[in-house]
Chain length 87, copies 2
Amino acid sequence: MYVIITYDVNERRVGKICKKLKAHLTWTQNSVFEGEVTKGPFLKCRQEVESIININEDSIYYYIVENPKHIRKEIIGEEKGQFDCFF
Amino acid sequence: MYVIITYDVNERRVGKICKKLKAHLTWTQNSVFEGEVTKGPFLKCRQEVESIININEDSIYYYIVENPKHIRKEIIGEEKGQFDCFF
């Protein structure tokens, strides 16, 4: 499956969240990670991330496309993800 | 089609970009807009946004899923998009 994850979390938890997402996906820009992932690692990733966030303050959005062929990505301007996430 | 747009633009252009995206899509969180849109309005939206950005400094990512049934969205925590974008 192809997954895009965007997060809006308290800055105290950004580093932890970023580290966990980075283990499974690729950092794209700002608070966006994405990548092709199988079900098992995706569930592990979700469990890890969801154990860190405070659901009253933070939010995580998952966009899931089962068949990666069904999603097309186009980039205009600088591709930021070629550099690394700070965390 | 279902479109997710994420942007990383110089703060001087954020307001303008946000206004243009808001005319066609829904603000989700941080620098993410999304929504179901037909080809014509999507092309108009792209033209407007791409006429504002500086391609040497800014970046716009388009994720396009032709059939909205092929994408699933899950939210954990606070749903930010229910409030309005500042612009």
